[in-house]
């Protein structure tokens, strides 16, 4: 789908924000492409919500520049920014019905009554709430409120849409459904979207790109699949997906663990202590101890198996006492040769799935 004419790129440069003596954002630079769905992902306190608030104009930065298209907006008051926002608690106006909530931004812009009615109707259609215009806000379910908030944020065709954990108040099933719906709505309308969440699965499901934030900085900005396959820091590896960390030694361009050479697809770092990131689903239970070349083998003892219906999780202990998790699907061939807890096992890891990150402390 083509990019809507209203979609504009955002360019944030050297954003600084301190609350008292606490630095919340430090020299932050971020570019969002026109029509892109970009997610700010991070734990609470990472500065992601503060950044969104600065973008919306509710929080004043200490320094920095925000350009939307060619316009500098860092000092523009929020009501002149023309940015739609979906709030975490929806922030619907309780004294207005659904129609008036959605018509509110149009009313502020002096849109004529007939056109307002038409555009509100279209927005209600878009979020699948046809015919609910006369409902009071307190007569709506959580999912419906969410849709009203969304309709209100897009009805005036803003250049940019911001979303602050909009799905966090919904239950799991509805949340997953809304993720898909938001995604397809974005594809259809093509507005530049900045989405904030602490839920890595949600971020991976919905985003074109994810900016992983930690301690007021962006640790890594990449497509979801790149982020998952090649995390660049220990934090990113730990925050996105599950990870086992195994300390390894590097010298002269080769990687060693317990006296065994580790094969990696990427060139090994020069020297020093590093961490090997092992994703639970990339590990395999090996039938025999001598696998094909290019596969790293880890010897361990199986300590427990958790059956989860479609899949199972093995907990194994390496020879140095380190815990390791393995996840695989319950295929009959795997189940047939499943060892019993207490037995020694060999775990295989392909060279291209072997990721190294710096061991920062």
């Amino acid at each position: 789908m083509s990019i809507a004419p209203s979609a504009l790129p955002i360019s944030m440069r050297r954003i600084e924000k301190r609350f008292g003596s606490v630095a919340v954002l430090r020299d932050l630079n971020l570019d969002v492409e026109a029509g892109e769905f970009l997610t700010l992902l991070g734990p609470s306190g990472s500065g992601k919500t503060t950044l969104l608030m600065i973008l919306a104009g509710f929080v004043r930065a200490n320094a920095g520049s925000i350009r939307v298209g060619d316009d500098e907006i860092i000092t523009t008051p929020p009501h002149k920014r023309n940015i739609g926002m979906v709030f975490q608690n929806y922030a619907l106006f309780p004294h207005m019905n659904v129609f008036h909530n959605i018509a509110f931004p149009l009313k502020q812009r002096g849109v004529a009554a007939a056109e307002t009615a038409e555009r509100v109707e279209k927005a209600l259609d878009l979020v699948k709430l046809q015919g609910l215009g006369e409902r009071r806000v307190d007569q709506l379910s959580g999912g419906q409120r969410q849709r009203v908030a969304l309709a209100r944020a897009i009805v005036f065709e803003p250049r940019i849409v911001l979303m602050d954990e909009p799905l966090s108040a919904l239950d799991k099933g509805l949340r997953e459904h809304m993720q898909i719906e938001l995604r397809s709505l974005h594809r259809r309308l093509g507005m530049t979207t900045v989405y904030v969440t602490h839920d890595q699965r949600e971020a991976i499901t919905m985003s074109d790109r994810i900016a992983v934030m930690n301690g007021g900085r962006i640790e890594q900005l990449d497509k979801p699949e790149t982020l998952y396959a090649t995390p660049q820091t220990r934090f990113v590896a730990g925050f996105i997906g599950e990870s086992n960390f195994i300390p390894v030694e590097c010298h002269n361009g080769s990687v060693w663990y317990e006296g065994r050479r580790i094969h990696t697809a990427a060139p090994a770092p020069a020297s020093g202590q590093h961490l090997m990131v092992v994703r639970p689903e990339k590990l395999r239970l090996l039938a025999n101890a001598e696998p094909a070349s290019g596969v790293n083998v880890l010897d361990a003892t199986l300590s427990d198996i958790i059956y989860q219906g479609d899949s199972f999780v093995c907990y194994a202990v390496l020879r140095d006492g380190r815990q390791l998790t393995l996840r695989d699907y319950c295929r009959s061939d795997v189940l047939a040769r499943m060892p019993a807890p207490g037995q020694p096992i060999s775990l295989g890891l392909d060279a291209q799935d072997t990721i190294l990150v710096a061991s920062d402390g």
Binding site: G57, I83, F87, N89, A91, L92, F93, F104
Partner: protein, 304 residues
């Protein structure tokens, strides 16, 4: 085994229905027994005196059963005048409290928690001082040779002292000061519950600060304002000390008329009738407010 299943089956769909009903009955009786002491207290100190008051109002001075005490309201001009004065004062004082209290409560609601609690102390502090003391203080400030008049004359603003006390304006100033916290406190509490995100959403959607206040903050603060207004208005209707001291005998309100009737003329029947009428009017007003607010809450606002 078979005996047991026979018992289950004989009960059919109404399995244990009877004993469950009996159990529910026993529980409500037990709860009633727990409530009994307080119900007795309410009955003894509220229902009985009000009933007695009503009973008293039905007898004239000679002790004969008559409606003369109520007929007097329509016959004597002074009663009607008192009634009008009472409502006039109540309206003016309530209006003044709204004009002063709304901006104050709004300011308090926008301050940081710490600053707001310090400022609230200044709202509540006079609240803890005796009404009598505060009324005399106002008398000192407002009288002919009081603080305000002597300042204004010294500054050359006026040549003749303003008559601020011993008339309606004195009553209004004194009562407004005393009743202001009753408006500010509920209003402040309700303003605090207004979601900041709603105001942010208003701004975000294109409403400037003034438009956001008018279209979002103000309508959302109306329930709190209404409860403050009701409290102040009802308290005004029965106010005694301040109008008695600050009115200089020129402003006769309902409660003062009651006091006169009972202690000066010892006409308990007439005094009781005054009380009954005040009670009925107050309840009617509360009912009216309730009805208006109820209608608003069910969406009159949104259909506008």
């Amino acid at each position: 085994m078979s005996a047991q299943s026979a018992f289950h089956e004989s009960a059919g769909t109404n399995l244990n229905a009877q004993s469950l009903r009996a159990d529910a009955r026993r529980e409500s009786l037990r709860l009633l027994a727990l409530l009994a002491p307080s119900l007795f207290l309410v009955f003894a100190i509220t229902i009985v005196p009000i009933g007695w008051l009503f009973w008293l109002s039905l007898f004239d001075e000679a002790g004969a059963f008559s409606a003369a005490n109520y007929a007097r309201f329509f016959e004597q001009a002074s009663y009607i005048k008192t009634f009008v004065t009472t409502f006039k004062v109540a309206f003016i004082v309530t209006g003044a409290c709204v004009l002063l209290g709304y901006p104050l409560a709004y300011m308090l609601s926008q301050l940081t928690r710490r600053a707001a609690s310090i400022c609230l102390i200044f709202v509540i502090l006079p609240f803890w001082t005796s009404v009598l003391v505060r009324t005399y203080a106002w008398l000192v400030i407002l009288q002919r040779k009081g603080l305000i008049n002597s300042w204004l004359i010294d500054l050359g603003v006026i040549s003749q002292p303003l008559s601020l006390a011993n008339n309606l304006s004195g009553v209004v100033i004194g009562m407004t000061h005393i009743l202001l916290p009753f408006l500010v406190l509920p209003l402040y509490a309700s303003m605090k519950t207004i979601d900041t995100d709603c105001l942010r959403a208003g701004m975000n959607l294109g409403a400037g600060p003034a438009a956001t206040f008018r279209q979002i903050f103000f309508p959302l603060s109306l329930p709190g304002l209404a409860s403050g207004v009701v409290i102040v208005f009802v308290l005004c209707l029965g106010f005694f000390v301040t109008p008695a001291l600050m009115g200089g005998g020129k402003v006769i309100m309902w409660a003062m008329r009651m006091e006169q009737t009972t202690s000066l003329y010892s006409n308990w029947g007439a005094g009781a009738a005054l009380g009954v009428v005040l009670l009925v009017v107050t309840l009617a007003l509360l009912g009216l407010f309730q009805w208006l607010l109820g209608a608003r809450a069910t969406g009159v606002w949104s259909s506008r």
